[in-house]
């Protein structure tokens, strides 16, 4: 027994020694912010400026539903002062074990450094009534792809600003000023985007996954169908045929696809219907030159207006 206790004590002492040897919480002046997706990172960067370090776990060209909970992310999370998540169970498949394993009390669910951005955004498609998995991979709390509405981007940025100001009171004015500037630039950009999309308001589109309700609402598009028969279920021949028939009947010409989905079915549908596949970007960083929240909409709207012409 004593031997065993000694052995365990040894392991423990070793761990403790390592802990003490490495000054883990050497307080840097900058706040360490980790976000679940690149869009949130872009928004945090807009308002945080050079007073924060931002890292995103998911990449912009990655399906945010299916990120692997790699231990390398733990290295970022254990240093994080603030964790910003999309919420609405988008990250349910990978983020909870990372948070638990991080050993970082500051970012545990409910702690001060855990920030659910969805609570500041307008959420669409909140299911009412009973839902079952027969509907596919539905999100019971509403559609989590809300960041593709610039108004929601502004609201989330506003929420982040309040949080940053609370965590780093010294720089609160700096953050606030950056937010004001961001909001002003965003509303100018919005006018421009609205003007570009104006001729195409009311156009019908088909999307691969149901990730565009907020975008469609903001820019007056009508999403009339999905390549997926149900959220998260890969295309089936019969459903594809239905989509083709519907598109022919209603004269729908544009199919919007995220870069992480297989193009085979959308391309086949486009061939059958004489339509165009638009590989739009759901997130910042999806292609090399799209690194800010503004560039994301610039890129997508340029693609769309070209496809509609």
């Amino acid at each position: 027994m004593t031997k065993l206790v000694a052995r365990f004590g040894f392991v423990f002492a070793l761990l403790l020694a390592v802990t003490l040897a490495c000054p883990g919480t050497a307080f840097a002046k900058k706040l360490n912010v980790v976000t679940a997706t690149t869009d949130l990172a872009a928004l945090a960067q807009e308002v945080g400026g050079e007073k924060i370090n931002v890292n995103s776990i998911a990449k912009g060209y990655q399906d945010p539903h299916f990120v692997e909970a790699k231990p390398s992310f733990l290295l970022q999370l254990r240093q994080a002062d603030l964790l910003v998540v999309v919420g609405l169970q988008l990250e349910i498949g990978w983020l909870p074990p990372l948070i638990t394993q991080s050993g970082n009390p500051r970012i545990q669910v409910g702690a001060n450094g855990y920030f659910d951005a969805s609570q500041f955004a307008e959420i669409l498609e909140i299911p009412s009534g009973a839902i079952t998995r027969a509907m596919g991979d539905v999100h019971p709390l509403g559609n989590p792809h809300y960041w593709l509405d610039p108004e929601n981007g502004r609201r989330v940025a506003k929420g982040i600003v309040a949080k940053l100001g609370e965590m780093d009171a010294e720089d609160a004015a700096y953050f606030q000023q950056r937010y004001q500037d961001f909001a002003r630039r965003l509303s100018e950009a919005e006018k421009n985007w609205d003007a570009q999309m104006k001729p195409f308001r009311g156009r019908k589109v088909v999307t691969y996954h149901n990730s565009l309700p907020n975008f469609a609402k903001q820019f007056g598009l009508e999403v009339v169908g999905f390549v997926e028969p149900r959220p998260g279920i890969p295309p089936t021949p019969s459903h594809t045929l239905d989509v083709i028939n519907m598109m022919k009947r209603d004269g729908v010409k544009v199919i919007m696809v995220e870069p992480y989905f297989d193009r085979k079915t959308p391309d086949a549908i486009a061939r059958e219907t004489g339509g165009t596949v638009v590989e739009y970007l759901p997130s910042v960083g999806g292609v090399k030159d799209v690194n800010t929240y503004f560039q994301l909409f610039d890129y997508d709207i340029a693609l769309l207006t070209k496809a509609f012409q």
Binding site: L4, T19, A69, P97, G232
Partner: protein
């Protein structure tokens, strides 16, 4: 929510009315009004968000106490004792253990999930026979965040007869110095396969080395205490160390590894893990494990296990849902004190799984293992596995398994498995 909508409508109407009144209103007035409406809209959306959060949150809303609440305890309160500071968060949420009523109680229900595991086996096996059809296991998972400092996970496994506690532990997530501690019954951190639940395995069965040396299906699964910590290391290498102490009972019958005969017959497990991203899509995961405990022969008979595991994963991020590859191998050495001689046995498995398409996986496994009690007897085998995923929530798997048991007993079997998942099952660690 209805009333909120009414407020919005009213604000808009009022705004429109005001605009109509002042036909000559300057543009700056309009802009100011627009800004005001926008601000009000934002406030309503924020309110909606708060309502949503309150409705959905499974955890006690310890996040942000309302600003009006006295955040700083008065001197008299502070004087009461050192336990006071964290309590104000809890005080904001009137949660009573097992006592809350109405819909509030429902919101705090833990995540409940059930995973069914049906196995059918065709073909003969004289050494380790399996039934033709079997509802092998139904795993009931109950998981929740307990309080701002801990989460709880309980997994009960229902066989066709009898119930077992596969795991049931509390994880302390808010310890100082980044320690993560678990207390309860858990699958120990010895290697990789030992930590995995049946439904997360890439095979229907477990490798021969698990059956011969590491306690069979349940493996080293015992009640005790575990501490884990990430060890800072340069060059983007993730290093973590785990130390565990258990009562000392694991496995049953022929597969028994550890048995405690007295309170002091504890078993220990230590694990060191190193992980590195080789590129965005490829990573390497290495582990060293050690376990020590007393075997069924008595307190003076020690069994020691040593393990090395390696996993190589590939998953291109842009096509993450369509293609992936995992290669994994574990080498395990067993040193078992028994009469008349100590037995030194070795075993390994090497496996690979490739994702062909979104729903199809093809895999193979090679098995080689001595037996712990008679190390001169060696079992060998190989498997080919095909898995089909109708959705994330069900799997159908076929496995052809050839086994060459010691003493020239050969077995050719076809295993079929259907796995199905209901409810909110928390994600498993990578």
């Amino acid at each position: 929510m209805k009333s909120l909508n009414c407020v919005v409508a009213f604000v808009f109407l009022a705004g429109a009315f005001a605009l109509g009144q002042r036909t000559s209103a300057s543009t700056s007035d309009t802009a100011a009004l627009e800004q005001k409406i926008r601000d009000l809209e934002d406030r309503i959306i924020t309110l909606e968000g708060q309502v949503r959060t309150m409705k959905s949150q499974a955890a006690p809303p310890a996040a942000a106490p309302p600003p009006s609440a006295p955040i700083v305890a008065s001197p008299s309160q502070a004087a009461e004792g050192p336990t006071a500071p964290p309590a104000e968060n809890l005080a904001a949420a009137p949660v009573s253990l097992g006592g809350a009523g109405g819909s509030a109680a429902k919101a705090l229900n833990p995540d409940i999930s059930m995973i069914g595991d049906f196995i059918s086996v065709a073909g003969g096996n004289s050494v380790r026979p399996s039934p033709s059809f079997e509802m092998h296991e139904s795993e009931l998972g109950i998981q929740a965040i307990i309080d701002p400092y801990a989460r709880g996970d309980v997994f009960l496994t229902f066989g066709e007869q009898g119930v077992g506690l596969e795991e049931g532990y509390i994880t302390f997530t808010a310890l100082p110095a980044s320690f993560v501690a678990k207390v309860g019954k858990m699958r120990s951190a010895f290697g990789k396969v030992n930590t995995m639940h049946n439904h997360t395995l890439p095979w229907v069965d477990r490798p021969l080395v698990t059956q011969n040396l590491v306690g069979g299906e349940d493996g080293i699964d015992d009640a005790g205490v575990s501490i884990e910590r990430i060890i800072p290391f340069p060059k983007g290498i993730f290093l973590s160390a785990t130390g565990q102490v258990f009562r000392g009972d694991s496995g049953e019958g022929d597969e028994l590894v550890f048995q405690s005969h007295s309170k002091s017959d504890l078993s220990t497990v230590a694990h060191l893990r190193a992980y590195k991203d080789l590129s965005e899509s490829t990573n390497l995961d290495l582990g060293l494990s050690y376990a020590r405990g007393h075997n069924e022969l008595g307190s003076d008979f020690i069994t020691s296990l040593y393990g090395v595991d390696a996993t190589l994963r590939w998953k291109p991020l842009r096509r993450a849902i369509y293609h992936s590859f995992v290669a994994r191998s574990e080498f395990i050495w067993s040193q078992r004190q028994q009469n008349p001689f100590e037995q030194r046995a070795f075993g390994l498995y090497a496996s690979g799984e490739y994702q062909l398409k979104r729903r199809w996986f093809l895999g193979g496994r090679y098995d080689w293992s001595d037996r712990a009690r008679e190390a001169n007897l060696t079992d060998k085998g190989g498997s080919v596995i095909v898995t089909y995923w109708p959705s994330e929530f069900s799997q159908i798997r076929g496995q052809y398994r050839f086994t060459d048991y010691a003493g020239d007993h050969k077995a050719n079997e076809l295993l079929m498995q259907v796995l199905f998942s209901m409810g909110a099952h928390g994600a498993h660690p990578f």
